[in-house]
């Protein structure tokens, strides 16, 4: 009967390659982007442009956190390809229903 053993240490990718200066730069970048989001809120930009800008900045912030803080940048590509395409695909599938939300207000009888 075979016994289970985890991945040998020598096979594991060393992900702790980035140092404190890199983490500090990423943290500052995240704070700056949060500041831009706050500024945009009070700049009276059209809702659709604001939504696009806020979502875009959020995606960049999420990517920075995943890449540097969660060390995914230093992992094997196979790990990224196993996890993320499925997630992105499912989120896009969910978004298909958003068009329905725009239809519902138009279906309400006039008051």
């Amino acid at each position: 009967m075979s016994t289970y053993t985890d991945t040998p240490q020598e096979e594991i990718v060393d992900v702790a390659k980035a140092g404190a200066p890199t983490f500090l730069k990423v943290w500052i970048a995240l704070l700056v982007m949060t500041g831009i989001e706050l500024l945009l809120t009070y700049e009276q930009v059209p809702t659709l442009i604001m939504l696009t800008a806020l979502l875009g900045l959020s995606i960049i912030k999420a990517a920075l956190i995943i890449a540097y803080f969660m060390h995914l940048k230093f992992e094997r590509l196979s790990l990224f390809l196993t996890l993320f395409p499925m997630l992105i695909f499912c989120i896009i599938l969910m978004m298909i229903f958003l068009a329905d939300a725009y239809r519902i207000p138009l279906m309400r009888p006039p008051q």
Binding site: D6, T7, P8, E11, I12, V13, V15, A16, G19, A20, F23, L24, W27, L30, L31, T34, E37, L38, L40, T41, Y42, Q44, M50, L51, L54, L55, L57, S58, K61, A62, I65, I66, Y68, F69, M70, H71, E75, R76, S78, L79, T82, L83, F84, M86, L87, C90, I91, M94, M95, F97, L98, D100, A101, Y102, I104, P105
Partner: protein, 208 residues
């Protein structure tokens, strides 16, 4: 080299770890991906309800709501920095520094929860918003808002407890680098989710 021999020497032929990672970390990644789908569905539900209802309330005034939520964002971002420093210190075998960085991370998490609860109480007591009713006649606002932010706050509270367990074990010379790294993955995920909740829920409903 024949196709068969290429297949046998590939990382997927068996006997090797194709991801070159340990099972704890891979397990945490799988959990985080499934949790991402839960939060995506809740954020989607919030956005859907918002688009459907033209009179969606905007209860978040600059002071105190937006100021509070901005400080909460700062707390979580800073706690992510301290957490990554804890992982870094543990990788260098410095357990004392690891404990200090984890304690700083927990402080950021606790500050976030206190501020969030204060904001919730203000909404409930001053604006009379509950999960089922509110003065603007849009009951879905309370349901989606408390559902989404409540699940996130639960994650933060669980994260603080998780880090406390890791911290005391590291202080006693137990646990390895990978255990601290896996707890770090969870904490960064909590931070990451807030990066979407803050603009989508608070900033998009700010009272200008």
């Amino acid at each position: 080299m024949s196709d068969a021999s290429i297949a046998l020497t590939s990382a997927w032929a068996g006997g090797k770890s194709p991801y070159a990672t340990n099972s704890k970390k891979f397990g945490m990644w799988l959990f985080l991906i499934s949790d991402s789908l839960t939060f995506s569905a809740l954020l989607f539900a919030y956005t859907y309800c918002r688009v459907v209802e033209p009179n969606w309330p905007k209860p978040f005034q600059f002071s105190p709501s937006i100021i509070f939520s901005s400080i909460m964002t700062f707390c979580l971002l800073t706690s992510s920095l301290t957490m990554v420093m804890a992982v870094h210190a543990m990788n260098h075998g410095n357990r004392k520094a690891t404990v200090r960085w984890i304690l700083a991370t927990m402080a950021g998490g606790i500050a976030f929860v206190i501020l969030h609860l204060t904001e919730w109480l203000r909404l409930i007591n001053d604006e009379h918003v509950t999960p089922f009713t509110n003065p603007w006649g849009v009951p879905l606002f309370g349901g989606t808002f408390f559902g989404l932010t409540g699940l996130h706050m639960t994650h933060v509270i669980i994260g603080v407890i998780y880090l406390a367990i890791i911290c005391q074990a590291v202080a006693r010379g137990k646990f390895k680098f990978e255990d601290v790294e896996v707890s770090g993955l969870y904490w960064h995920f909590v931070d990451l989710v807030w990066m979407f909740i803050f603009p989508m829920v608070y900033l998009m409903s700010a009272r200008i």
